[in-house]
Symmetry: D5
Subunit: 146 residues, 10 copies
Amino acid sequence: MDKLEMRHTLLAAKARKKLTWEEIGKSIGMSPVWVASACYGMNSATPDVAKKICKVLEAEPEVATALEAFPTKAWDEAIPQDPLIYRLYEVVGVYGDTLKDVIQEKFGDGIMSAIDFSMEVDKIEDPKGDRVLLTLNGKFLPYKAW
Amino acid sequence: MDKLEMRHTLLAAKARKKLTWEEIGKSIGMSPVWVASACYGMNSATPDVAKKICKVLEAEPEVATALEAFPTKAWDEAIPQDPLIYRLYEVVGVYGDTLKDVIQEKFGDGIMSAIDFSMEVDKIEDPKGDRVLLTLNGKFLPYKAW
Amino acid sequence: MDKLEMRHTLLAAKARKKLTWEEIGKSIGMSPVWVASACYGMNSATPDVAKKICKVLEAEPEVATALEAFPTKAWDEAIPQDPLIYRLYEVVGVYGDTLKDVIQEKFGDGIMSAIDFSMEVDKIEDPKGDRVLLTLNGKFLPYKAW
Amino acid sequence: MDKLEMRHTLLAAKARKKLTWEEIGKSIGMSPVWVASACYGMNSATPDVAKKICKVLEAEPEVATALEAFPTKAWDEAIPQDPLIYRLYEVVGVYGDTLKDVIQEKFGDGIMSAIDFSMEVDKIEDPKGDRVLLTLNGKFLPYKAW
Amino acid sequence: MDKLEMRHTLLAAKARKKLTWEEIGKSIGMSPVWVASACYGMNSATPDVAKKICKVLEAEPEVATALEAFPTKAWDEAIPQDPLIYRLYEVVGVYGDTLKDVIQEKFGDGIMSAIDFSMEVDKIEDPKGDRVLLTLNGKFLPYKAW
Amino acid sequence: MDKLEMRHTLLAAKARKKLTWEEIGKSIGMSPVWVASACYGMNSATPDVAKKICKVLEAEPEVATALEAFPTKAWDEAIPQDPLIYRLYEVVGVYGDTLKDVIQEKFGDGIMSAIDFSMEVDKIEDPKGDRVLLTLNGKFLPYKAW
Amino acid sequence: MDKLEMRHTLLAAKARKKLTWEEIGKSIGMSPVWVASACYGMNSATPDVAKKICKVLEAEPEVATALEAFPTKAWDEAIPQDPLIYRLYEVVGVYGDTLKDVIQEKFGDGIMSAIDFSMEVDKIEDPKGDRVLLTLNGKFLPYKAW
Amino acid sequence: MDKLEMRHTLLAAKARKKLTWEEIGKSIGMSPVWVASACYGMNSATPDVAKKICKVLEAEPEVATALEAFPTKAWDEAIPQDPLIYRLYEVVGVYGDTLKDVIQEKFGDGIMSAIDFSMEVDKIEDPKGDRVLLTLNGKFLPYKAW
Amino acid sequence: MDKLEMRHTLLAAKARKKLTWEEIGKSIGMSPVWVASACYGMNSATPDVAKKICKVLEAEPEVATALEAFPTKAWDEAIPQDPLIYRLYEVVGVYGDTLKDVIQEKFGDGIMSAIDFSMEVDKIEDPKGDRVLLTLNGKFLPYKAW
Amino acid sequence: MDKLEMRHTLLAAKARKKLTWEEIGKSIGMSPVWVASACYGMNSATPDVAKKICKVLEAEPEVATALEAFPTKAWDEAIPQDPLIYRLYEVVGVYGDTLKDVIQEKFGDGIMSAIDFSMEVDKIEDPKGDRVLLTLNGKFLPYKAW
């Protein structure tokens, strides 16, 4: 079973059981964003976590094997088209130089890792319109001279 | 004076006066990321704020006029190459579908605005390596049927 | 049932029943353009509206579920090729800077939302050749400093 | 004088004289969007109109010659990056098939001309947020068999 | 039956019956280039003509329905690769500016329509090598100020 | 003097002397389209013809040398953007396969040369709107087995 | 049977019968490179030659029909990736301007035809490493003024 | 002096002295194609050869230094546009798979080097039209398992 | 059996038998990176080695035939997306000019072959985080004048 | 002084003083590849190292400031064209999946860092042709679940 089939299986099970990523995350002790990314095939799970995901979603053991596999990460469109995802791309385009300058002023020459990294989505309720709070947390890696 | 010349003038002044975005932001009462984005030419300032920026950086009045102008936002590379900015692009590519699903599960069908939007960079000190905390805060805009 | 299958099912039903978007829109109390976009899989319907669409087009309940799903919006060609769609792309290319200037002169720095948005197609009869009147109506979103 | 120099000259004059496209359009009897497009170098003016524009903006006769020249229309980015212009591109991408279907249902096989064409921008004031009303008006051209 | 299946059906029938586009065109009173384009799925036929094409090629009624459908025109390669088609693309690239200047000198600012348009292929026999005569005939559409 | 400078010089002279391509072509005994293409730098002239062009347009001898040089042909946009030129590109895209089939049915396997090639632009006056007649004339080159 | 199926059939037969292009070419009196190109679907064969190829490779008559068909030539990657083919592309990139200059110095303004064209591959044995000798032979086509 | 300036200097000198690549090559004992490629900046010359080229073309010593520099090879268009160079690209596209198969059948798995490589242009006079004979000679490099 | 099917077969067998590339390489006397590349279909094996691979992985004889076939090498994305592979691409982008200069300073004008080439992956254990040691070993090929 | 000007200054000084990267590296106690990358503007130096580089190459203090600046890394061609650099790109394309599999088998799910990273170029003398030994050394970064 490859990652694509695994993803279809898990998303179908989640819909059938009417569970949210929030609930699945809570019941297995992981963050909802990470659980979603693993079910979408963009992260690998440890055997232990894979088993838990399969238990919550009542999936076959071969789904757990697929969850443990190390993914080859890829995406369809170099420039995303879906409006929600495009807005994030636009933020990177518009504010990329700004963020580079502010981060490197604070940390020195280096990058924010996208590997030693986590993410969180929160909802700020507001009568003028709720707001999405997206938090990225990555280790700073300094360039080293050699 | 166009935005490009304005940017060169302001970055040179900032270097000459050895100020940080943090300090400039504080002294004019705006966030450091926003101040940087305005000086990079990616946001327009109100006349009042433009004047304050010019005062802190000892710039000519025509720089203030340039800060007030509404920018045409553009970036050089559809797929960014600088490693710090690429990592952000990679996050959007790898986690785009995941974020869409988690956000829409929480908010319904719609997007996180990149216009009614703010951003913040924080440093989490950690003996195993400091971490960058990047917070995006955007209004949720629901699609409406008509 | 995914959006693609839903679309094929609904377009086939519409052809079989010889209904126009105008008629379907009228019978369910929505605009014809919106109804078409939902059947093409580019917008999600509320449960209530989804049921009505399925009733008019005599479709199975799983089609209603597909109509309710939040779509991942994508299109085939970055530069459209079909002549009708290309002409719209050409308008954006030729008049993009012009529209930006005229809109921002009237509203300030910001954008016209494509989310809090509606559209209408009308026919102006004219002996020298009928004319298409295409109306776009989007909320103005101002950039905010922070 | 080429179209680019003409554009810089006219936009600078407009800023200096603090005129809006609305006001310029009114004073010469043309639509504000069309006047802007001609000054941006995307349409040619008749000698008479070119002279009027130059009179309002106090420009030299060679600017009038440049306004009369037939432009070679081009734009920088196949996929626009400025957020205001991108939103229009997104509308074409997301709703292109829908518009094609709705228009051709009303008019038969053919296209909406982008040449025998006009456009208008209006403001709808609304306490919940003003709205942009963008109207495109193009002749319908039917395909003919031969 | 979609346009692709229709095309396979009609081309196979044409090969089986050993008919040329010339002959099919003559027998139904249309130009050979137009008939070919309709059978390739790039133009729609009136019910009457669709029926005639099906009669000549002994095709089922559903093929006629497919011939009447309004096509979504698309092509595989932005820059064509087949040598015969590439040569035409090369002509547009090499002589595009020249043609624009010569046509607009004769007609004013505007375009040659590709919609209100017809085309013809003729053979000029020549002992030094036969020549292809390709004639494009399109309505001139002037830009109008508004 | 390179081809670009030559082009600017010749187009300026032509405007100054208020000559059309038609008139220049007639006075030197060549076709107007070819003369335009040579002045645009897309074809080389024989010494004799180069001298004649320079005489008509009162240009310096070094312009004649530039006219004689063999051009490196190139164009800016793989997919043209100017509406007049795009319409020609669209014709190649929409009708490419059709033309290939009709030409090869008449001539056998091979191509229409874009080198041993000429072109003509004519105006057909018509009360319902004048028409552009564009004629391409290229030697047929058969593929040979070896 | 289309060209792709024909190609699979012929390459499989060639492998099964352990024949080389050299041997097939010799037995039917054609060059090995041409025979390979025809079996790969990049050239059409005369009925006579098609029959001979099918005889040598013991293929069905419908394969002969496919060999006679005029191919639509296309290739997968605008910039080839296979190292052997990339090296040829690199030669065109690195030496393109050089070859243009040397050829046009010898022949005048024009091109080397890729249609009235043949090619040959030879092996030069050499103790320091064998060498590939690739010979391209194309008719020179002069541009003609008109 | 960089390669670009060197190229302009050498091509201007060659034109002024009315020398051909053939003549320059002969007088310094190198092939005309190689000499052209070195003067175009696509190959480096040994100090001895660089001096000879400068002597023949009466160039300054700094030109010799530029000829000795190791070039960074690059070309403008991934897909060439000049018709002469495009035809060579087309040959690689159309016959790439064929050549790979024929070469590897003769030599085993490996490539023809574009580094340990030479090239030659010859003219075959023919009353039906002269022919260009282009010969590529590259060392065969076998892949090695390790 | 083509290379793709061969790859699926061999990777499945490797997983079933729980073997590492290290172990397979050792048992057949080849390097683990090379064995992996051959099983991925990116190198051809000699009959002898192919048989050994099939023996270790208990694969059918037709898999051995597929291992011996000369591959057409290709990859999916011109700019890789998987983070591990992208980092290697980034190294080539960031350090390409540097490496060219350092290598050519040491070796003269020429390249490092990617054909007469081998590669090795080693692990350097380190309490602060293990390190990957990637060694590329390629023959230097000097450009030769001719 | 920006990185580009700095690079020109330092490369010119290095040529004038006839120093190699090897010698410069040795005299300041850093690796030759790293020194080259810093002088090419692809890495930042500490104030101390920047001063040493300027001393060896007799450069002005403002060059030292430029060496200390944090670079925005970018490269010209997504797919490199210079043959030496392309060969490295080809290695990533051909062996990318192989390396991913071999590295992750040894280290688990994660990447080799291109930031906490160093590189070395060595020469292996060999009578059959010298070999380039390129060593990449990067910290392994494991993905972490969160």
